[in-house]
């Protein structure tokens, strides 16, 4: 199936941000491991990989704004709602378990990882909604 212009733009943006993420993460891990950064520079180096993830969220937002096919757009919105519900639910449950000292601390960037996993859940939900109704 051919991709829409919006989908091609989204793919390009995602690839760019993913490459930037890999490069900045490797640089950050190396810099901190070898004590090459300190003070304000350490903050900048630590935040750079996170900005790539923020960029991917922005790419998804731009895709939703640019996609002209209303049905595909609606399916993508539903997928992101599944992702948000999934990630926020797990984060909330974990937060309470952590507050009552039943589980250990987990870095908050795991919410983003859960959200991306939730997109897969949303894809399954979209596929299930079409089963047996194809003509």
């Amino acid at each position: 199936m051919s991709q829409s212009v919006a989908q091609r733009r989204y793919n390009k943006r995602t690839i760019v941000f993913s490459l930037f993420y890999a490069a900045t993460l490797i640089a950050a891990v190396y810099s901190f491991k070898h004590h090459l950064v300190a003070g304000p520079l350490a903050w900048v180096v630590a935040v750079l990989p996170a900005l790539s993830i923020v960029g991917i969220f922005a790419a998804i937002g731009l895709y939703l704004a640019e996609e002209s096919d209303e049905y595909v757009r609606a399916m993508t919105v539903r997928q992101t709602l599944w992702a948000s519900g999934f990630a926020l639910s797990i984060a909330t449950i974990w937060g309470f378990l952590e507050s009552f000292e039943l589980v250990g601390h987990v870095e908050s960037y795991w919410v983003s990882i859960l959200w991306f996993g939730g997109l897969g859940l949303g894809t399954c939900a979209n596929r299930l909604s079409t089963v047996g109704r194809r003509s």
Binding site: S4, S68, D69, E70, Y71, V72, A74, R133, S135
Partner: protein, 69 residues
């Protein structure tokens, strides 16, 4: 929403892909509308009606009348 899209398409010997290209939407969209899984927006419903040179009501069944029937 029930509709006559599949019949109208068959009368013209168009595939879902043919109709999708004429409407400038994806084949998935045509499939979803045909099977009643997705109700098109008013602008898309007008584009469909224009393409078949019919009124919207002649293609899509009014859901409120469907309940009464």
């Amino acid at each position: 929403m029930k509709n006559r899209l599949k019949v109208l398409r068959a009368e013209r010997d168009w595939s879902q892909q043919d109709l999708a290209e004429r409407l400038e939407v994806s084949r998935q969209s045509v499939n979803a509308i045909e099977t009643g899984r997705y109700d098109p927006s008013l602008p898309l419903a007008f584009r469909i009606a224009d393409l078949f040179d019919m009124s919207i009501e002649a293609i899509f069944q009014n859901p409120s009348k469907e309940i009464q029937a």
